[in-house]
Symmetry: C2
């Protein structure tokens, strides 16, 4: 449906690239994969059928006017139809429970160029010779790193003027090598979490993920939480460099492992995209993070950053670019932008609520018109931190708990079915929900006095409920939930719930208006939505509107790796999404106090929960 | 004569800058110099008279509507007249014998910006805060080096949000420092000659040259001529790095000396512009120069190059840019582009001939329609090389020679009037001309047999003419011109003259058409134009059309340092000027043979010379 002027002499595949139309070309245009199918009526305006075309296309297809775009050279005016199976936008990126379509249009692409040999009649300098050949192929003016230019004469002559040129954003030549050797073009996306790093190695031509690697964030030795790392960076001599060095080193190991697993050479990794919360973002880039920890919490930069991998010490291709997603505010970082990008709430008519629970938790409310956000440092309790028997989501972690309302007996499930080692975040939510449902704790999270069960006991003045007896556990100790644990959970849930309430009020959105509730972050993976609703962590909406979308941070980073327009969208989002500073908001304190109740001080906001409780307790 | 929309709240000086109108502002807009005079009728649309204005402007001027642009804030629509004395284009750059006007518009400028302090109500990140403040001042979106961004938070807070911002091309912030301290903005221009380096240190605000330093090119130890240096770079392990290192080291010393002399801090030097022939250009930038020496003589790059000073190891400001002028062809380098730029032949209606005599000599013929060029390796004989008593233009060098046609007695002048040490290029031309005029040599440069003077003698089979007797000389030896010396000179002059002939023929230009003949290069400084004409080095045109324009290479480099539009012009010229490869030209050989005669085989081309000779010899 689009008219495009095309230079004669280009293949249709090249012409489509120039025109910004994505056509699949897994073999890179060598006539081998048969993926670049297109339909043309005016066969006379194209070069005659190539050998590959007669080999790869059935006679029916040929009769119907099918051709391979990479084999058809434009000789005159043509109208081209790109059938759905050849369209690049048909690729999907899959985060757990989430699927978004977008056009595969990575910043890095490689083209093969054959240069005319210099002669006394054509003494065009090497660089201009390359530029001219690229212009012939429809590219604009390009730049080149000084160091690459120094090598260019040797490379061109050793390649005998037949070269593969790797371009970044179609504006910079980042590599020139021998042409006609299929070596692949790869990229990596990295999520720098406070506690965990995740790396995906991606084939930039197909969009496929080749390898996924994770490792604990080695900065953890300088503090589990963000504030202690910021302090270390701010006040210890060389602290920032050290923290930066640790994360870069860890990233280099992940890249090495992923490349080994996928059989990819490190120096064919031409771009890396990175997300992380603001503190991780700053430390990764070597920006002093100090101001993030003191009012008024000012970041060094909001917009996305492009920096050469080697300036950061990341060992991929010498001139590879690192694209770091933009931030929104001092506490709402690139990972949050990635969440919004991956869930697509910014392009939906529907009103959505998005919660990313992590060491810090971010909340978004909005739709394509407008999105507002807030952030709270609460959340690590949901990762099992600060709890006596809290553990991360490791083998043996109790991930589901049910309590019989009649005899208070406990059923639980552990990760990998192993003997229990502790309770992970999702099960803590279950525990609080079940204890409340059975009437073992009151709406303030205190154990009721008059209950008779051997699972309740008092130790050093603290009441505890035994979830698993010591003879069942892997630790040889009873695994319990204490009143103190419950209070930790309630503080965290109240902070998040108050953030949600403030944003919903700001946007004048009621529970009925919320078409979607997305829960991002690894925490969501095991979470029982009924329990989350029961304790009042989320608003009372029908459960079928809730999606657990997993690590949307890495999904968003990968979308930016594979699509230039997603990068633009990310920067637009970082500008557009408004930030509400909760501590400065007049309603926050009251909402927080109200949310310290289970499910809430104002029970009329939780009709579903009230109904359920009365049914259970009535039974 | 130009209507410009202006933001309210800017001073007229700022508004003029945004609009690209150059107004003098020697004090940097502090109301101290009184140079930014402008005339405005609608005084009501401007802020009231400031104290500086009442102090600096006479009551007559005030009555006539004069104001200081830096003191007048725009409040509404105004029409501004910029009187000639305030216009920046009135600045001149002076090469010897050459004066060109252009607008002072350096790539580097510094602005003082006062940023709003962050608060809980304005948590804009540091970088965006700076960008916004610059936008308020009329600047576009800017970039910043990664390493500077890392320091930005500390700089802004130490400066208490009052900063001096140094911008390059209005697109990159290269420095941020404490505001309100007048520290100056400087640049340097460098001519990398095969035998000599010249550096000018320049005040970028006034356009004034503060210091000039020269030094021998230290690469000379690896060969006086270009070819041996190219070979050293191409075939010796590490040769290119060594040659590059030598020239960078020498440049660093020159910068240090110049800065010391001018009392300027090295890190206030924010840009460097560089010219040199193609080989010097390549070696300076670390590009392999090998292909320049083998057919088809292909350069690495034609266009101008911008590269960070620190990538080259040049010790000026950390993020200073180095602008290297473009080349034209394998043998016509950035220095030649500078020659054309400085002489302005590209914008004249008149047809000009431009000759730059050096180790290599370049010739240009053309006007604003079209210019063609050629190059010949001949020329070093004119610098005194390859001659028995040849010396450079040092103290004691004989620079002028006259021979009495009656008794063959010699009058000479030496540089600084010292005892003679040898003969420099210009005097060699004199010598050949005078010997020929007196009939001592024939039209092939051979001494005539039948002349009787004690100044003529034969040594080891070579005839020599004594210019200065040993008791007059500083060397204690007779200073002579031999027949072999004369042949060297004739070979060089024939090559240059043949180049001129080929270009004039190509452009169908006759002697009458040539309105100007520019002789560039230090050689020209002492050259007697009559002698040059007499030996047939230049075409037979009236002497008043000849100008000696000195080191136009450095003049062109300085014009690029001081003017962005000159940079654009340089790149356009490098694209536009056609190059004629003499060795491949069908007429070159014949023209060369013809030019081996004095003044020329075809005497009808030299009527003035014929007349003169017959007058002298007839006398
Ligand atoms: S791109 Fe593979 S056959 Fe055309
Ligand atoms: S710029 Fe000096 S007085 Fe205005």
């Amino acid at each position: 449906g689009r008219r495009v002027e095309v230079k004669r002499g280009l293949t249709l595949l090249e012409a489509a690239r120039v025109a910004g139309v994505g056509i699949r070309s897994e073999c890179g245009g060598r006539g081998a994969c048969g993926k670049c199918l297109i339909v043309v009526e005016e066969q006379k305006s194209l070069s005659p059928l190539s050998v590959s075309e007669t080999r790869l296309l059935s006679s029916d297809k040929l009769k119907a006017g099918y051709r391979l775009a990479c084999q058809s050279v434009v000789l005159g005016d043509v109208t081209v139809f790109v059938p759905p199976e050849s369209r690049l936008e048909a690729r999907r990126i899959l985060a757990e429970g989430l699927s978004r379509r977008f056009e595969l249009d990575p910043a890095v692409r490689s083209v093969r160029v054959i240069l005319p040999r210099p002669s006394l009649l054509d003494t065009t300098p090497d660089f201009e010779r390359l530029c001219n050949a690229l212009k012939e192929r429809g590219f604009r003016e390009v730049k080149m790193e000084h160091e690459l230019l120094q090598k260019l004469p040797t490379i061109l002559r050793e390649a005998d003027w037949d070269v593969e040129v790797v371009l970044w954003m179609d504006e910079e030549v980042i590599a020139v090598g021998k042409g006609g050797e299929e070596k692949g073009v790869y990229g990596a996306s990295i999520d720098i979490g406070t506690s965990k790093l995740v790396l995906h190695l991606v084939d930039l031509r197909s969009g496929e993920t080749l390898s996924v690697k994770t490792v604990e964030n080695p900065q953890t030795v300088y503090g589990e939480d963000i504030i202690s790392r910021i302090n270390y960076a701010a006040f210890e001599e060389g602290g920032l460099r050290r923290l930066q060095g640790l994360v870069i080193e860890a990233i280099n190991s992940l890249i090495e492992e992923a490349c080994r697993e996928a059989g990819v050479k490190r120096d064919r990794v031409y771009e890396v995209t990175v997300v992380g919360n603001t503190a991780m973002h700053h430390i990764f880039l070597g920006y002093p993070p100090k101001q993030l920890a003191v009012a008024p919490y000012v970041a060094v930069i909001r917009r996305s950053v492009n920096v050469k991998a080697r300036q950061l010490g990341i060992k991929v291709h010498e001139f590879a670019n690192v694209f770091v997603l933009p931030n929104i505010a001092g506490f709402v970082g690139a990972d949050a932008v990635a969440d919004v990008l991956a869930t697509g709430i910014y392009e939906s008519d529907d009103m959505s609520l998005l919660i990313d629970v992590g060491t810090n938790s971010e909340v978004f409310v909005g739709n394509k018109e407008d999105i507002i956000s807030c952030s709270t440092p609460a959340g690590s309790a949901f990762e099992g931190m600060h709890l006596e028997h809290g553990v991360k989501a490791v083998t043996g972690a109790i991930e589901k708990i049910r309590i019989d309302p009649g005899n208070y007996e406990v059923e639980y499930e552990t990760i990998d079915g192993a003997k229990p080692v502790g309770i992970c975040g999702s099960a803590i939510v279950d525990a609080v929900a079940e204890l409340f449902k059975c009437g073992l704790i009151d709406e303030r999270g205190h154990f009721r006095k008059n209950i008779n069960t051997k699972r309740l006991r008092r130790e050093n003045g603290v009441v505890k409920f035994v979830v698993a007896w010591k003879d069942e556990s892997a630790t040889g100790r009873d695994i319990t939930v204490s009143e103190r644990d419950i209070q930790e959970i309630l503080l965290a849930k109240a902070a998040i719930r108050a953030g949600i309430a403030v944003l919903m009020k700001e946007k004048k959105v009621s529970e009925e208006d919320l078409a979607h509730l997305y829960i991002a972050g690894s925490f969501g993976r095991y979470l029982n939505p009924e329990s989350a609703l029961l304790i009042g962590l989320i608003p009372d909406i029908p459960l079928d509107r809730i999606s657990f979308v997993g690590n949307t941070a890495i999904a968003g980073a990968k979308m930016c790796l594979l699509s230039r327009s997603m990068r633009k969208t990310a920067d637009e989002l970082s500008n557009r999404i408004r930030y509400v500073e909760l501590t400065a908001h007049p309603d926050f304190r009251r909402e927080f106090m109200n949310a310290l109740f289970i499910p809430h001080r104002n029970l009329s906001m939780y009709p579903t929960v009230v109904k359920r409780i009365s049914r259970v307790r009535g039974a």
